[in-house]
């Protein structure tokens, strides 16, 4: 089974790249998007992350600024 057809073109960042990207960009210039369930968000999330659970994302996509770089997890 091959999966490439399911994947949206998006670059991946590993942990250290993500951390340095966040440090280099002021909070208001980027969106950190947490798409997990609310209970998981409550247990721990990247500081400043906006919570929009994955099942709601397609309906709430206008809450995020498309002009800003978006880091999603």
């Amino acid at each position: 089974m091959k999966w490439m057809q399911f994947l949206t073109p998006a670059k991946s960042m590993d942990f250290s790249q993500t951390k340095s990207y966040i440090l280099q960009h002021p909070g208001e210039d980027i969106t950190i998007l947490d798409v997990r369930q609310p209970s998981e968000y409550q247990e721990g999330h990247i500081p400043g992350a906006t919570l929009i659970p994955l099942p709601q994302l397609s309906d709430r996509i206008n809450e995020i600024d498309p002009e800003k770089p978006t880091l999603i997890y």
Binding site: F6, L7, S12, Y73
Partner: protein, 191 residues
């Protein structure tokens, strides 16, 4: 999902919060491919959608065999059952719009599997998401990520497709994926 909706820069944090906590790293990936040209007739759209659902079904079945915990095995079995239902609704939609009568077996023979070639192997896909296959939460997260990609694919295709009948069908399948995704979210919350 975001990349297809005008977002300029989207980065996937590989491994999600797990990577954040554990400080592990997975190499960068540049991925992307569309299966649909945008000129498909409704019948063609249904054939492609059927092959995608077959791919998901095969994936869940292979994961069911790989998982060791009974609860996780049951979960994969339930996920594969859902794909069978999706396939049935796609076949019924095809029967509705097709001029010639065709049984399910005949329809399956018409479905091209070449769409599933190329790209990431199942192992590579698992490496990318790095789930613990003995954890229900990880398995549901994996399923949600796959279903979200399928939803995203159908939504992007809907924008691309010109034929109104094809567009309606794709939107209906996308909505079913959304309901499926919501039910997985509820399942996650119930654990």
């Amino acid at each position: 999902m975001l990349a297809g909706k005008g977002f300029k820069k989207v980065f996937n944090v590989a491994g999600g919060i797990t990577a954040w906590d554990a400080k592990t790293a997975i190499g960068p990936q540049d991925l992307g491919m569309d299966l649909f040209s945008g000129k498909e007739q409704p019948e063609d759209v249904l054939k492609i959608a059927y092959s995608l659902e077959q791919g998901l079904y095969d994936f869940y079945i292979s994961m069911e065999k790989e998982a060791k915990h009974e609860k996780v095995k049951d979960l994969f079995a339930r996920l594969s059952d859902i794909e069978v239902k999706h396939q049935m609704s796609i076949y019924l939609a095809y029967s509705d719009i097709s001029d010639e009568e065709v049984d399910k077996e005949g329809f399956e023979k018409m479905v091209e599997t070449k769409a599933l070639e190329g790209g990431l192997s199942t192992k590579e896909y698992l490496d990318l998401f790095n789930p613990d296959l003995n954890s229900e939460i990880d398995v549901i997260s994996l399923a949600m990520s796959i279903e979200a990609q399928a939803l995203d694919l159908y939504q992007r295709v809907s924008i691309k497709i010109k034929n109104p009948g094809s567009k309606d069908i794709i939107n209906k399948i996308a909505n079913e994926e959304k309901v499926h995704l919501e039910s997985l979210g509820k399942l996650m919350d119930s654990l």
